[in-house]
Symmetry: D2
Subunit: 388 residues, 4 copies
């Protein structure tokens, strides 16, 4: 079992008695799920010996709730995953907290519910060039008044750099996705701040989610050099959406009071068949951004990926959010005006269709809530694919 | 004002005193709408002299209701359009019934609400090859027990052939889309049939919509030679979904008791910049079908259509329906299981994204309810585009 | 046809050649509707000679849309009603603007869609005591920066007093309901204000609806003496919800730029079988408020109204809104947390059930958006009933 | 820990070394929950020594999902409850299967999410008359072709009688509620039947839920003498809704292949402050049925229960379902026509309001799916209350 507070490379080396470790390998498995509690896919991986429970370092999940306030499919999936890990590792459920789990609700349109299981082990294999690398880190606990303000931005940037180091990712340009789970403000936390005499950035718990996601994304931009200190201040957060990261994907949840950070990139210290790449969609139908990513992965295609190439796709991770202008290329969308279906549900369905048309698959990790994560109405799209 | 019961060519000739008519021209305008009652786009066309009220022969509309039972955006749009036509032609609202109007509710994802206005006039221009041609026809009134049975199939086939003749479309292979509005069974109609001693195909009014759409689509298949008499019987309708038309698009409404038929194709007797083409999507993410259509229109593209080509697209008309297997290429979709969002709403959002990714526009006419209209989970996609 | 800018009494007197008019009579008809365009109930009243088109002075309607942003059932119903009035009075549709129409969308739970048609005529009948009286008035047009501020409050108060006078209602305590339709801020209006250098109360068009409803309700409270000038300031509006009217029912729409006001009360100058009464529900399940109203109408009951008494109920008009505490008598409700169903939809369903249990009918006019209209989570309930 | 396969009385006697047992006591606790995984209320009962984990014999829960197909709040609540029981009893989660748990999703309107915890212990107290009694039983496993047919009816009737005996309820008239959880048909089970050459009652998995609920309810009617053998046949089930039980409440789930039965009634062999009573609502707004129940519990009231009486209410359990006529007392409801909100959601909201108006509380267990459970559009309402 790995400790998130030590560099992965050092830990694995330590486990091996410090003998020369050729490289680390990041394993990625995609498991379909029949409902939020269906962890049979991961169970089968354990049973078939494809991965050890202790090797699992992070799990992303696309679950079939509404992705909004009363989406219990996320918590249910996490509880089911943690129960399985605890059972297989013979530890308490609380002891599985070292594995960050980011569940994104909402599989609108044709998106297929699935888990992305990341595991790490050492390997004797050798690869030319860079391979998929993963690092995790956590920020310190935030005070209520820090959320959505520069304190969260700066501490997030620090932790992103820590995760990069832990992953032996040598250059910011080798980072292609930073997935973050961040806290929100509950009424209780807001009141706690007020008792200390410090007002929070907002008194509305729902809008605190946006502030936390936005500040976390700006922290990524700062760590990766997409923005500089001088670009940022409290007034920028959730106000100046012209400033953004093209590699951040953040989601807020009420089960934590700090940020959990998963950095994905490529590194020469890792060896596997997989690499990651990304680009930024300028709007929700900017499919050419995906074509750009595929080209860097030697998966260029004129139409839809053929079956052989489609099989090489290990994961597609993208953000979706309605444009605030209510327009896409000058044509009106109704996402903000529909009181029956939440705007982010429309946006995920749309981006899911745009990407599935090229990829030829529907098990895509598309999440909503894209403050400062790409331009208004657009967002990052990252692809992990095997070399052959 | 044209009479739908006479061939368009003859009527226009008659209006011209039977002097030699070089050709007919089918005009197609796409008007955005801000809400279902917003007919300002059509009004501007009248005011700017781009089209005369009496030249309008058919209107399709993508309106922003839920596209299901309680979608009043369709009736509201039709009432608003008919009030405008009546005012501009100085006739009663009822007298506008000669213009078939097919409203499809549901603009999920990024689909943009819009009208497609078809108008016909004579022209002295000459075009090489075939141009967009349009014909309309109506069946006789159906008895309640005929709906969803072979009587509806056969009479629809007859009327489709009549509309083809009226449009001077010479070969079934030149027909690329048959848009039909068909009746449904109300409790009253079912009871009327029972009083005559003849049971309807179903006692459920909602499922009668599917039967009526399915029988109408099979009528198209029969008229166009996609299926033969021997292929069809009452038992096939809404049971053997392996039999279908690749050019039918049918929708059911409770405001009529017969079928209204709009045939779109290409003909040498018409002259305009526009042509139509179509293909069949094998499933909801079969974007290559769209690439095939674009290739026949000399709009082939490796990625998204560039701005110049995108502007040449005059209309995109497609059907969307969840696959009954709950799978897309082996991955589960949740459209049938979602009790918060109707399955057809998911399907429209998905297909809208798939097509918008290539077309680079979101004002696409994508409608649900695809019984016998293409293979299970797929459906026809037709594009009208200008030659340059 | 009555002119809303003159006292009703004077107009009717004028129409009668100023001969002595014994009294005015307010007629109230409740018409079921099968869909938002179904005005057959009103048509039948005309055909049966029960009311003349020119006698109609106001129409309330409970239509079956979602009652939120994209509820087109309201506009569709108004368009259908105005088309009928225009046809029957042989006037243009625009000329029917003298009849205020307030449509409230949302018939959740068991609420039944219906119109309440108010008409006025002179009568020779005599009644002891007070009878149902109705007055209408309109404010001047509001500038964008006036909406949601004291300018709207004060001008609304003035117009309410005008409507009371027009209805010959002698005392504020004889007013039992003031139904108001008020404007909202569109982006265009906000920008117009900014161009003049004056910021609006909010830049969010949706929240402007609440400000407009709230200011209008406080105007009612001022006119009726429920609050005094000293109680009110810009800072109170939509902030201090401890200040409210127990007789206001306001709704915002984007089709007008002023307030339209309908005052309902009792007056000795009117003669009919009907009287109105009201009380204030302290929370959503405060059914005893309704029992209080019924008692004043001599309709007291220990359980549900029996069929005879239920028939005497001509209209029930109430407001519904989720409590901001997310609690009802200490138990949690999920209205604010449900991202699938809008909070006001839950609230209408709940209050509809509470009232239907006592009334024994479901055609109840329950509308949402209750800022400053009764205490938090509660609201006014008014009943119009015949004496026998 | 009690074994559901032995009469409760015998088990408790056995545990006491067969010494004379004065009586059994049925404890009932109502715990609010903040989300489906919030079992802190039950945890507090354990911590405060109010009940022992091994004493818990059944749990009902009203959870905040949509109550329809994709409602994961039910499974999440059960998983959370079983994890708590397992932890406190130091057994495996599977070993908690002896405690039947019936979760009903859907807290529309004002209904408050809550658990009803039933526990049993022996007591030395003596009560005059009958006290609340509880018995549980299970049927044998059903073959796929038995579900929704007389085999399920008859075996359910047998098990209901067994549960009555286990509860020492002496007369069918002392039974006031039979809560049943029953299986549904999955595609797999249907295929298994077909492989054996026997077709299931339906090939539609969703409609199998109704057949299973309906057959189970008719089994209750048979056991309690509400219907006789001669009244019943396969053709009655889900077809002749004039035949029903006034004391059945059944719900279908895919996690079991047999029926789990909880019988609630009154018995002289039990001693506690609580008693149960019931009546049948003739339609959704038949509040007088509730007044009848309250009268038998000496809780009659002219308006809403006052705070003292309201506190004596321990549980309210009722069924809700839209009338198939789309009418309530002649007025149209739109529950079946609303494609945005499921019909049962409307119905629960409505009945919740009707009952809350009298009870003065919102933590009411109102569940949908009422085939053969009371008359069309109505259903049973049962109340458990303390004597003082």
């Amino acid at each position: 079992m790995l400790d998130r507070h030590l560099p992965l490379r050092d830990q694995i080396a330590a486990k091996q008695g410090n003998r020369l470790m050729p490289a680390m390998q990041c394993l990625l498995f995609r498991c379909a799920m029949n409902d939020p509690s269906d962890v049979s896919g991961l169970e089968a991986l354990f049973d078939d010996g494809k991965v050890e429970p202790g090797e699992v370092v992070a799990i992303l999940g696309k679950t079939e709730g509404n992705g909004c306030v009363n989406d219990f499919s996320r918590g249910y999936a996490v509880a089911s995953l943690r129960a399985l890990l605890a059972r297989r590792m013979n530890i308490g459920v609380d002891a599985t907290a070292h594995v960050p789990m980011v569940m994104s609700g909402g599989v609108e349109g044709g998106i297929s519910p699935h888990f992305l299981i990341f595991a790490v082990r050492e390997t004797t294999r050798e690869c030319e060039g860079l391979s998929l690398a993963l690092g995790v880190a956590a920020t310190r606990k935030f005070e209520p008044w820090e959320i959505g303000r520069m304190a969260q931005v700066n501490e997030t940037a620090r932790a992103v750099r820590e995760a990069m180091a832990s992953a032996s990712i040598r250059s910011a340009s080798d980072v292609h996705l930073v997935q973050i789970k961040c806290p929100l403000l509950t009424q209780q936390r807001i009141n706690h701040g007020l008792a200390e005499g410090i007002a929070s950035v907002t008194e509305d718990t729902y809008s605190s989610m946006g502030f936390s996601r936005g500040a976390s994304a700006l922290g990524v931009a700062l760590a990766l050099g997409e923005l500089e200190d001088a670009d940022l201040s409290d007034d920028v957060i959730c106000r100046d959406f012209g400033k953004w990261s093209g590699r951040a994907s953040t989601s807020a949840g009420n089960e934590l009071d700090h940020n959990e950070i998963i950095v994905l990139g490529n590194s020469p210290d890792w060896a596997s068949d997989d690499v990651i790449s990304h680009a930024v969609m300028n709007d929700a139908i900017d499919v050419d951004a995906l074509h750009d990513v595929l080209a860097t992965l030697k998966l260029q295609t004129e139409r839809q990926l053929d079956a052989d190439k489609s099989r090489r796709i290990k994961a597609v991770i993208a953000k979706a959010e309605p444009s605030t202008s209510s327009l896409i290329r000058g044509s009106r969308h109704i996402m903000w005006d529909d009181s029956d279906i939440n705007p982010t549900r429309h946006a995920r369905a749309l981006v899911g269709g745009v990407l599935a048309g090229v990829i030829g698959r529907t098990d895509l990790f598309i999440s909503g809530g894209a403050e400062h994560q790409g331009p208004d109405g657009g967002g990052p799209v990252a692809v992990i694919a095997s070399r052959s």
